[in-house]
Amino acid sequence: MDGFLLTTTEEFLNWNRKSSIWYLLFASACCGIELMQTGGPRTDLDRFGAVPRATPRQADLMIVAGTITYKMAERVRLLYEQMAEPRYVISMGSCANCGGLFQSSYSVLKGVDKVIPVDLYIPGCPPRPEALADAVVKLQAKMMKEKYLRTVRA
């Protein structure tokens, strides 16, 4: 029953979740440097509560930054499977969105959403740190709207 108690608890839980997004350090190529630079002093990701974690078991956000090749795609899938729900994926940069400028290459996966479901796409080559911070803010807005307790999980 969608009562007052359930919705308020859900809002409280969503506020908790959005204020401490721990992301997985997954820096594949050039976008990885902008990811590190975003965690640096000027555009600080830590003010959103986001700290980098080394293992997917402790992360709830995976920022796929950089080109994914066929050899790497299977590992990306394994990393995604290891994350615990609720989990989100941001695809950063045009190589992860759609293959980027390597369209005629024989070994580049044209878009990481062929192997994992993506929540947010950030265009750019590489995207500015402000764009990544904006993406985290949009993800936070998405998390606030989620009917977290009222969905039946598969």
Partner: protein
């Protein structure tokens, strides 16, 4: 030491194996390549201590292997080239002369399909182990899918059935 004197020095030791010269080096016989490389490294006046780069070029009807050598103490460099047939490209490995040839020859094997005899560990380095074909050859066609992941991505700006041109792919 300029290029012509270096070639004359090699010709002095291997008179029949040095073929046509060009501006920066010379073609040599494929069977004697390893002996010539050993001589280039050990000889006092040449002392080519370093193999800077080892690569191959696909010229349509044959393959050409290119070795760039350099000497840090004498400050001169040399290029050695070898021609190999396309379907049966076999040559001796120079890994015992310069250790860097190990990975460079593995890359050449992976991308061109050149077989190196007496190489300690010849397997694919850049591509997954079950990849079919050698990509840098001119007659290579990429597969349509790999392990269930399709190779192309539909461009939403281009209407169905057409290919990308400057008119319809710039938005």
């Amino acid at each position: 030491m300029d290029v012509q004197s270096q070639i004359n020095l090699i010709k002095g030791k291997f008179p029949n194996e040095v073929l046509e010269n060009f501006a920066t080096g010379t073609f040599v016989n494929a069977e004697k390549l390893k002996a010539i490389c050993q001589f280039c490294r050990d000889n006092e006046e040449l002392s080519m201590q370093v193999l800077t780069c080892m690569t191959a070029v696909d010229l349509g009807d044959h393959l050409e292997l290119v070795y760039h050598l350099i000497s840090y103490s004498k400050k001169h460099d040399l290029v050695l080239k070898v021609t190999l047939p396309r379907d049966n490209a076999v040559i001796d490995s120079v890994e015992s002369v310069w250790k860097t040839a190990d990975w460079q020859e593995r890359e050449c094997f992976d991308l061109f399909g050149v077989n190196f005899k007496n190489h300690p560990d010849l397997r694919r380095i850049m591509l997954p182990d079950d990849w079919q074909g050698h990509p840098l050859r001119k007659d290579y066609t990429p597969p349509t899918e790999y392990h269930g992941m399709s190779h192309t991505r539909k461009n939403p700006l281009i209407p169905e059935g057409q290919s990308a041109t400057t008119e319809n792919s710039n938005g």
